[in-house]
Amino acid sequence: MRPASEERFRSLYAAHYDHVLHFARRRTDPASAHDVVAETFLVAWRRLHDVPDGVGQALPWLYAVARNCLLNMTRGENRQRAVAVRLVTRSGIDRGEHADSVGERLEMADAWQRLTPSEQEVLALAVWEDLTSPQAGKVLGISAAAYRVRLARARRALERHLDHSPAPTVASAATLAPEASS
């Protein structure tokens, strides 16, 4: 019979592995993303008593750990305080799509690249991680109210970049995340 702690961890792992992997994949290359997932769940196993067990609370905790992993990965190079978020690759954009749709996405991609990593981060937590403000605040270590302020600013910044976006070019598309095999 397995100890209760192991059962709890197995449940946690099964419920959240995919989400943590996707979180990491949006922010780094596939190989590093698996490293981040491994480190995140190792921390969770070793600090299982710290993982909140309320509804919807464990995942923000795991995201916060994963974010720390990602920050530390690059800290030696440029002292980042926020994790930049990637978009789908160019090949993923233009694969089988109508030219108008491709243009619109490249325009968005161009505007996204002009956001700061902090702005990308707050937007990504709402759009792709689909977190509430309190949850996203937990990930970033700030209050829900502070998160909402940052989110509003980030949205305004993105809209501003979209309004002043130059015509998308191949060069701008090249700034999207490079495709890499896992």
Binding site: Y13, V43, W45, R75, G76, V88, W128
Partner: protein, 305 residues
């Protein structure tokens, strides 16, 4: 102007990791089992360390030698002859002050604000002194140490890729943090064998993936010793020596360029490394028997024991 919902919808279509993306379930299962085999009682810091590979510590073999943590980070993935270390040299060259400072900063960034605790002294990382620095090809190493009043010592062996004349930050930085103490320093021609670590050069945490290895060792020598040559299997390494401390690292394992078939020797039954020492007058003593730190414990302050 774009409303929020439209903006979010447009962004969702650019998700770099959509939820319908295929996931390697075998890998997921392997990771689960590997995590569960980790000791849950070993404390970890709130901020997890990045890309730190497990390091196989070779203990000093006595209780007073205490391993705190041993971590390694993101060495380049290598295969076979470990091309990342292709220009590694047996003999160390001088690392510039600028390079040593750069690696120290990168290494301390990984180490965190403090070392120790949990029964050991807690020391601000900035208080670690740069004891040794050298260059072997494109790699720079620094040895950071802190020694307390009772000679309890923390040692951080740092390694990073920093080609000569590069103005970039060091990359592929890795380190091993070790602690222990309470022993008397070596005297005369003695060499006190210190800590050793193997840095796993793998493509993933917890031993997942392929990779190579590097090994490192450090220790103390008496005032009569000015040079130390380490023999790790077929690999010969001229250590850096300064003020009674030596340090060396090399590609491969503690027992040579290729992984050993077994851990024989790692328990102290057989010597793992062999040493030649060069004395002040130039005399070379070959294959000297190292002393071990805790064979010479300091007397306690009350003079008993």
């Amino acid at each position: 102007m774009t409303d929020h919902l439209t903006l979010d919808q447009r962004l969702r279509r650019l998700d770099a990791a959509p939820l319908d993306e295929a996931i390697d379930r075998d890998r997921q299962s392997r990771l689960l089992e590997q995590v569960l085999t980790a000791d849950p009682d070993v404390p970890v810091k709130v901020a997890p360390r990045p890309l730190r590979r497990p390091v196989r510590r070779v203990a000093w073999g006595v209780a007073t030698a205490m391993a705190l943590t041993a971590v390694a980070v993101a060495l380049p993935l290598t295969t076979g002859g470990q091309p990342a270390f292709a220009d590694w040299t047996e003999k160390p060259a001088v690392a510039s002050e600028q390079d040593a400072q750069a690696l120290r900063a990168a290494c301390l960034d990984q180490v965190g604000e403090t070392v120790g605790g949990d029964g050991a002294p807690r020391v601000a990382s900035e208080d670690l002194e740069t004891r040794l620095a050298d260059r072997r090809g494109a790699w720079v190493s620094v040895l950071l140490t802190w020694t307390g009043a009772d000679r309890y010592q923390f040692t951080v062996a740092c390694l990073g890729h920093l080609p000569p004349r590069s103005t970039d930050e060091p990359s592929d930085v890795t380190h091993a943090l070790m602690g222990g103490g309470g022993w008397a320093p070596p005297t005369g021609h003695e060499l006190a064998e210190g800590s050793m670590a193997e840095l796993s050069v793998s493509s993933g945490f917890l031993g997942l993936g392929e990779g190579g290895q590097a090994a490192t060792t450090t220790g103390d020598v008496g005032p009569g010793v000015v040079g130390v040559t380490v023999h790790a299997g077929s690999t010969t390494i001229e250590a850096s020596v300064k003020d009674g401390t030596y340090a060396a690292w090399w590609p491969g394992t503690l027992q040579g360029p290729t992984p050993p078939d077994s851990a024989k020797g790692a328990n102290g039954a057989e010597p793992i490394l062999r040493y030649d020492v060069t004395l002040l007058d130039g005399t070379v003593l070959r294959d000297v028997a190292p002393t071990h730190p805790t064979e010479r414990l300091l007397d306690p302050p009350n003079g008993g024991g």
